[in-house]
Symmetry: C2
Subunit: 482 residues, 2 copies
């Protein structure tokens, strides 16, 4: 690493920004006359002081992060920010242990949404707003990371999405700064739209705003223990379905669609497959559920569409507990936990484009077998897929599955049963939220897990959020060799 000072400067600046963000819940608690404002204010002071000190100690004129530094800064940023954002949870009326607070904070910033908290309905607004805010900010953070950083680090095949690559003639926004601002605008606009819709359907303003934030972030934190089950409204559920899916589409495509250049949303192969798959699975499940006689088809579709959208968008809201539908449904949702949304969104998981590339590879390999003398090329949309992209994608999927298994193994070492361990591992790595079983299922709560399991799951959320390799490459010998 040539430039550790710049790493410190960036992290310091992010902490200062975080300390300002903490003033929002201070305001909310002051208005609501809750004593919790002190927890947020003292955390803001500590965070701001730490960030300022880090900035002063690392003053430098250098402004170009090298490749190795980018890996370090990206990983460290997520860990350090989660570490400080956990402070108000410790200091507040919730009185959480630091382990619990860190888990909740990491689950928030990674937009996972697994929670160790209960009794949300009677909590002060500050803490509820804080949970929504860290998911919302984490969401925009990961979109910018996915659009601006990961493609250039060649992570998991995302080099396919280099917007400035030379094979693209339709350069909508030549400068990265402009792209970031445009994405931020779209994200804010969608959140406002969602909040208005929730509010019109009957949520109060506070619930509408916080749920809109965690919907677009595909995070899944709610202000009620029963999540969407609290509202018990089909209209609110369907609005949730629409905006959870909206949050799992590539944000850059909205920008391009609005500006009338580039592909429109529905022409994008990833978007089409994702939306078709989601509704296809929801409809098949609704037919299956209504055939068992528990629901009418339309009644069933409300629950299956919401649950499927919640899992594939990696949000994690619940309007019912899908595990009561039996092992077939539980297994189906466990498989869906691996899928994920589109790349360049707030969704986690393996993501649709990787399945599409492997599907194309399968077809081309079959043809190569049957017609050994005909050359096969791989195309994704209007781009030729290079060998390098296919290698990255295949490796990503392999490491993803292996990580789910080994995180699951580590969890069993703390005494978790197989289903809880495997589904907790898969849901954390996919940044989904709920798993299968009494503890980590949609009606469960992660609070009863042993502390060791919470730290392992926090690591899994981080790994999943940063597409595994951003973190794992730092454990290779080559990374530290000059």
């Amino acid at each position: 690493m040539e430039n550790t000072k710049l790493v410190g400067l960036v992290i310091g600046a992010l902490l200062v920004a975080l300390s300002f963000l903490m003033l929002v819940p201070v305001l909310a608690d002051v208005v609501a006359q809750s004593g919790d404002w002190q927890a947020f204010f003292s955390s803001a002071v500590i965070t701001g002081f730490a960030g300022g000190a880090l900035m002063l100690a690392n003053e430098t004129d250098q402004r170009d992060l090298g490749q190795r530094e980018t890996f370090v800064v990206t990983t460290l940023a997520w860990i350090v920010i989660s570490g400080f954002a956990a402070l108000p949870l410790c200091f507040s009326q919730a009185q959480m242990s630091y382990t619990d607070a860190f888990f909740e904070s990491m689950s928030g910033f990674t937009t996972t949404g697994s929670t160790v908290m209960s009794g949300l309905d009677s909590m002060a607004p500050g803490i509820l707003l804080w949970r929504a805010l860290i998911q919302w900010v984490g969401g925009v953070g990961i979109i910018l990371t996915a659009v601006a950083i990961l493609p250039f680090l060649r992570i998991g095949g995302m080099q396919l999405f280099r917007t400035e690559s030379s094979d693209r003639s339709d350069k909508v926004m030549p400068r990265p700064g402009q792209t970031a601002v445009a994405i931020g605008e779209v994200y804010l606009l969608l959140t406002l739209l969602c909040a208005f819709a929730y509010s019109a359907a009957g949520m109060n303003s506070f619930d509408a705003i916080t749920h809109a934030m965690t919907t677009l972030a595909t995070g899944g934190y709610s202000t009620h223990d029963a999540s969407f089950g609290y509202f018990n409204s089909a209209m609110i559920d369907w609005i949730g379905v629409i905006f959870m899916l909206a949050g799992s589409l590539p944000l850059l495509l909205y920008v391009q669609s609005v500006r009338g250049s580039g592909e429109t949303l529905w022409h994008d192969t990833q978007v089409r497959s994702f939306v078709t798959m989601t509704f296809g699975v929801a409809i098949v499940m609704a037919i299956w559920l209504s055939a068992r006689g528990d629901y009418t088809f339309v009644g069933a579709l409300r629950y299956t569409a919401f649950s499927v959208a919640s899992v594939v968008s990696t949000t994690g809201f619940a309007n019912t507990d899908y595990t009561i539908w039996g092992p077939f449904a539980s297994m189906a949702f466990l498989i869906l936990t691996f899928v994920g949304g589109c790349t360049g969104s707030t969704a986690g998981g393996i993501k649709i484009f990787r399945f599409q590339i492997l599907g194309m590879l399968l077809r081309s390999q079959n043809r190569q077998t049957l017609y050994p003398h005909v050359a096969q090329t791989l195309r994704f949309g209007d781009r030729t897929v290079s060998r390098d992209v296919v290698f990255s994608v295949a490796l990503f999927v392999f490491i993803y599955v292996a990580t789910v298994l080994f995180i699951g193994l580590a969890l069993t070492a703390f005494g978790l049963d197989l289903v809880t361990a495997l589904s907790a591992s898969a849901t954390a790595l996919g940044n989904v939220g709920p798993g299968v079983g009494a503890i980590v299922g949609p009606s469960g709560n992660f609070s009863t897990l042993p502390d060791g399991a919470k730290w392992i799951l926090s690591l899994a959320m981080l790994l999943g959020r940063l597409e595994l390799m951003t973190v794992l490459i730092m454990f290779s010998r080559d990374f530290w060799q000059r």
Copy 2:
């Protein structure tokens, strides 16, 4: 398909051979004065008649199987032979339903070893010998398929093992016929050695011969319900460990080692990794088990080495029930179920060389990320690994995992719980034998599963045995297009 006649002729010839094989248990039952000889004799007549009719109806001078025909013949052979080999199980004193008999027969020929039979200890010798024979013959069948057929069909990266490829200067046996005979000789020799060792350690001749057959086949059928637990002998257990591992090494390497040309066994990178990994895991587990105070280290090692060797060699013998060691051990064995032995052996699973190739790919991709302008090449032993091989391997692993999940999903539709469904799916696809849980665990028995689940598992065993793509390619549209 240009030559359906030749397909019929080959299948017919295999059935005639199978009918002769059925005369062996006839002899055993006649000697033991068991009435079961009639079950085998009538099955031999039916099978021989069917095979003969098929041969007569498909007489042809053509002797060259096309590529498409080879896929069809390989898949059909395993299904039809299992179908006829199931007959004596229906007709005998065991009085099994055809579903049970087919499951047992497919489990035998694929050297999986999952069983629906109990009360083995008191059964007539014919039926016990038959179960051992079909595993032994299935074992040599799969080695020859792996060495002579799959590399040329470009299945799962096995094109890496084309023995006649031009980048090999040490052509030990230029003609495939000679190779097949040499492999058969080694297989027979190892089986005899194993039988002598078992016998010297205290097994009676019948047990020694049948267990030697199912050990080298890495099949795992026993003549006792308690499997190796029946003998309760550390010596016999360790002999089992050695020959289970011997059966999971590439048989061709023995031939080359004996003839003094090519690599010797221990110089082979796949063999080294496999053996090191197996004993490494066994030792770590033994330390863990003895630290819990249940066993001494040496006592624990006997059980962990046997169980680990049994699972990674995909044999499936049990000298204890590893699931009583708790969820950590169960999860570890579930992961080991995916691993498998070396290619070109009787072992199933994903197999060591595929992990090695993915490991090399990971290293090379990391380097490519860190040094974008340095070209990276992949090497396996003394060979350069082509892009094509890496694509095949990556695709194989992806489809393998997806198949485990979807077979698991299909099993839950029959009401199986998640752990039973997932581990039964993984153990069938890996041709291992036992899974996790009360029904499919090492102390369990597959007989109580619903019939539908047994057919699905039979399909999974077939898919795993033929390295998935041999079967699955026939479901692609391209396969049937001219």
